[in-house]
């Protein structure tokens, strides 16, 4: 069966420091991969999605970037974190269940910027 792993679970970083969050999927090949951010008490905002290795689409201009160095690996990065980057970050992958394209989420990373 397919599983998605996301780490770390929590992270506290100072303003101006770099960031690297990693997400890997097992049990499937060539999945669509997504990074979302959830601000406190808010819905999910799509940040990046990828349909294949090296293919990244950015949804919102920001301080963050994403990379997909391998088929089942998706990385969220920043060179210099801002206070506004605090939030809960979720990675997801999608599959067709019958006719329905369904996304499945990792457990998330809670990022606090000090």
């Amino acid at each position: 069966s397919q599983t998605i792993h996301q780490w770390p679970a929590t992270l506290v970083q100072p303003v101006g420091s770099p960031l690297s969050l990693e997400c890997t999927v097992e049990g499937t090949s060539n999945p669509n991969l997504y990074w979302y951010r959830q601000a406190a008490g808010r819905g999910l905002q799509l940040l990046f999605y990828s349909v294949g290795i090296g293919q990244i689409s950015s949804e919102v201009p920001q301080n963050l970037s994403a990379s997909r160095p391998q088929d089942r690996q998706f990385i969220l990065s920043s060179k210099k974190l801002l206070l506004s980057d605090s939030g809960f970050y979720l990675c997801a992958w999608s599959e067709y269940a019958g006719r329905i394209l369904t996304q499945h989420f990792g457990d998330g990373t809670r990022l606090s910027i000090l």
């Binding site: 669509n32 997504y34 808010r42 819905g43 999910l44 799509l46 999605y49 949804e59 809960f88 979720l90 997801a92 999608s94 269940a97 006719r99 329905i100 394209l101 369904t102 996304q103 499945h104 989420f105 457990d107 998330g108 809670r110």
Partner: protein
């Protein structure tokens, strides 16, 4: 662009009762899919139920069912015999031809013992 609106920021209900969460949406596509996700305090996002827009029959998953009104662009979630473990944020979401999920802002549901 597609939008999803959840007009109930918070709801509470007694254990074992039935509760309905509202969701309206807008899309210019004819072919789309609708979802309800649950996010408990652990923050994991869990798929609850999904509906294909071209199917008129409402989806059901055990105690969870939807009332899909395509003309009204409404997609409400009914939870029957509510349990304490149903306490969570519930998000309505839509995916259409661009294969990207659009989420509502969520409804915080509390089940009272």
């Amino acid at each position: 662009a597609q939008t999803v609106t959840q007009s109930q920021p918070e709801m509470s209900v007694q254990e074992a009762e039935t509760v309905t969460l509202s969701c309206t949406y807008d899309t210019s596509e004819n072919n789309y899919y609708l979802f309800w996700y649950k996010q408990p305090p652990s923050r994991q996002m869990i798929l609850v139920i999904r509906q294909e827009a071209y199917k008129q029959q409402n989806a059901t998953e055990n105690r969870f069912s939807v009332n899909f009104q395509k003309a009204a662009k409404s997609f409400s979630l009914k939870i029957s015999d509510s349990q304490l473990g149903d306490t969570a944020m519930y998000f309505c979401a839509l995916i259409d031809g661009n294969e990207k999920l659009t989420f509502g802002t969520g409804t915080r549901l509390t089940i009272i013992p």
